[in-house]
């Protein structure tokens, strides 16, 4: 599974992208975020406030209950501020 981090998610985790292999119990966006919070201090800080977070799975906005699978591209970012 390929993870992408943007804006301050990238700053706080210290990575722009990484390949991860979550355990098979991780099947949803919410479960993936909970698992990522345990990944290290940078991730814990970046993911401390999940209400400030948007998630896209394979470049589509996703909800907490949406499925994630091996091979997916999952992006984590704050609410958008373009325009």
């Amino acid at each position: 599974m390929k993870l992408l981090y943007f804006a301050w998610l990238k700053t706080k985790t210290g990575v722009a992208e990484e390949d991860v292999a979550p355990p098979p119990e991780v099947t949803t966006v919410a479960e993936l975020l909970a698992w990522l919070q345990q990944r290290g201090p940078g991730h814990a800080e970046a993911l401390a406030d999940l209400s400030a977070l948007k998630v896209a799975v394979n470049q589509e906005y996703a909800q907490p209950g949406d499925p994630v699978r091996p091979g997916d591209e999952v992006a984590l970012f704050p609410p958008v501020t373009g325009g």
Binding site: F6, T11, A30, A34, S51, V55, F77, G82, G83
Partner: protein
């Protein structure tokens, strides 16, 4: 048509090309976004626009399609810049052309409103106090509990 690019754009040339040869167009509405030198009480030296390559283009194309489904447009255009921009520079161009003005005005506003809440761009401001990521203006309070962790031991 949508474009994401680092370099500047020429509004006049873009609009001329957009409607060239199409004499069904009776009205063309345009919005151009510029970099301000102030945000609240902070002076802005510059800002850097980051985006999510791939998803950005996908979302912009979808926003444009949605506008074309809602209004009878003859032409539409979204150009959004990325990279480092200084105050006064152009960030975004949105244009909608239709037979009559109301559809053009409404579609143009729709395009920029949707772009601002759906297209994955983020602004990093350079200020006297250092670099600051811009917060979204209308933070959706209903979203507060949305990403709450399920009570599930399996998610270790």
């Amino acid at each position: 048509m949508i474009r994401v690019q680092e370099h500047d754009f020429d509004v006049g040339a873009e609009l001329a090309a957009l409607t060239a040869g199409n004499h069904q167009v009776g009205g063309l509405a345009v919005f151009v976004g510029l970099v301000r030198d102030m945000a609240g009480d902070r002076d802005i030296d510059a800002m850097t626009l980051e985006h999510y390559p791939g998803m950005t283009e996908k979302m912009l194309a979808r926003i444009e399609t949605e506008a074309n489904e809602r209004w009878p447009l003859e032409a539409s255009l979204i150009i959004h810049r990325v990279g480092r921009l200084e105050p006064g520079e152009q960030i975004v161009l949105v244009a909608a052309a239709s037979a009559h003005r109301q559809a053009a005005f409404d579609a143009c506003q729709f395009l920029i409103d949707w772009l601002k809440t759906k297209a994955p761009f983020w602004k990093l401001e350079e200020t006297g106090q250092g670099a600051l990521w811009v917060d979204a203006r209308d933070s959706d309070t209903a979203a507060t509990e949305r990403w709450s962790t399920p009570k599930k031991g399996a998610a270790e």
